[in-house]
Symmetry: C2
Subunit: 336 residues, 2 copies
Amino acid sequence: MAAERKGGVTISQVAKEAGVARSSVSRAYTRPDMLSPETVERIKAAAGKLGYVPNHTARALSTGRYGNVALIVPDVANPFFPPMIRAAQVEADRSDFCVFLGNSDEDPEKEDQLLGRFAGQVEGIILASPRLSDERIAAHALLRPLVLINRDVKGIPKVLIDSGTGIAEATQHLADFGHRNIVYVSGPSTSWSNKQRRAAVRHASKKLGLELSFVSASVPSFEAGLQAVDAILAKGATAAIAFDDVTAQGILAGLGERGVSVPGEFSVVGCDDALGPLTVPSLTTVSSRSIEAGKLAVSLLLEVLGSQAVRDASYVLETHLIVRSTTGPAPERGQS
Amino acid sequence: MAAERKGGVTISQVAKEAGVARSSVSRAYTRPDMLSPETVERIKAAAGKLGYVPNHTARALSTGRYGNVALIVPDVANPFFPPMIRAAQVEADRSDFCVFLGNSDEDPEKEDQLLGRFAGQVEGIILASPRLSDERIAAHALLRPLVLINRDVKGIPKVLIDSGTGIAEATQHLADFGHRNIVYVSGPSTSWSNKQRRAAVRHASKKLGLELSFVSASVPSFEAGLQAVDAILAKGATAAIAFDDVTAQGILAGLGERGVSVPGEFSVVGCDDALGPLTVPSLTTVSSRSIEAGKLAVSLLLEVLGSQAVRDASYVLETHLIVRSTTGPAPERGQS
DNA sequence: GGTTGACATGCAACCGGTTGCACAGCATAG
DNA sequence: CTATGCTGTGCAACCGGTTGCATGTCAACC
């Protein structure tokens, strides 16, 4: 009722109103069992009357428990991340934690800055697909609990989405369709996922006797995919596996512009299933499990926070090929 | 260098190391002009040696300036929001603010909870497309600075994306193509944007003499769009304007399943330009300006924080139709 | 040469909670 | 009837900074 202007009703005001000591008010909230039921009642009544709400910040300062975690991603707007962010959010919520979100813009330095800015108001940090060096990551991990997503640094708990399995399936799928010459359109060089995917496609191609070339789209974006098309066609390939779905869509758009039909003349495979069946033609891609990764990362972090023990836990999530409509038989070879 | 175990190098440790008082260390960071240059230098050196980082929380407690803002959205994974979130993030960063992200899952109650949880550790809150009642919003606004996006509550600063202009253009566009019977597929009933769009399409249809019906997709999602298709076709319409792009994509997919060609037999218009030209066929839609909205909302909030004055400011961003490939001439009318 | 004022720094209170410890009151055991 | 222990509450220190005020120093001024 009594909507005091701005700011704050404090513990002292409640204490005075209820005729008890400040410490009793505090305990009424944190350890009510220490007080007689009547006292608790009286305090709660006074608090209600004044509209008292415990101050999160003050509590954090004296207990060291902030009730916050931070999640840092390279690009919020990349459709791979929102579902993950959402899942992390939900999971944190279940334990009454708040989530700070950081966007590094694919920039390692920015990532470092954010890490610093968040420090001191979070209990732990989740770094998703970090672009930072192993050394810096290890340094930060020394200062506070850290969980990685899609990055493998020794001694730090992590959740890895193993796109290798899915990529291998994709390569096999293309080979089955008779493609002999394919391209892998790679993503950020500092991305663990990119390294993993690149290695997987190389390994599978070798095993299957496919000719493989690489084209680089340093940033995973629609535009980068679009711009990669000329280079891709120049390699004489009949199919491409892209670092991610967004890049793949760019490639599709570029092929369309050049009158190359998909999947008739050229096949495209994405990765991360970030767009779902939402596009037409729907994209053949590799499942990502980013939702599980987000959820898992938070619960892993909270677990680490609970038991000081810095468990060097790793969760690995396997992926699989999802065949939709952008892959088909290799075209008959007219000329070289 | 000296990587002290966990937690924190404090101001006191730095003070001892540098041989000065705690207050001087504090001032070396907040008001260096009050100290002699040499002292500042000596303190910074000591701080560097110890690896001192000012504690955000402690500072917030004593100054009341938290350096945090919260952004609450109904669904992070809805592609309309990520670009907005990103823009808000970037803008906040420019002023050294951190961003809490909240996801309400389209649930008013959850929204209320989040508002409560964030209170006490943020200086201000941005509510994007809130599903909460006007009363609750006004109540929260009384307690702390609040900025709304796509919601119009009297006396509260806001950024509105006026999709009305774009929707009117879209209706005109369909009429020009000879469509006489159209459907508006509406979104969440508590959404201000939905009300606005609904009103705009109604108004424009009336003016142009079009027959208009409504189909409801209570939640804006691909599935909801998919499920709305039967109802849409039952209305005998030749074109649909959807509440947003995601719903529109669902409609497109549903039409595809039923063998209805777009734009040959049926035209579809989305709203928000959330997907860009990313899809094939690319979606005719209404621009959203969500990036500007996110940026503007943050700068407006920071401005309100700067000058206590609760400016009842409103920014209105006009929108326009973006014609792509999902609209075309109305089909010849074979039968009724 | 004593006064004045600017400047640099230290002291101590404060922000709003939490928590170890002391203490009073009362019941039970010896 | 005193020793013992438990329970409920208050006191005061502490978390890590910020900030108003007091103090000491030194140069400039009359």
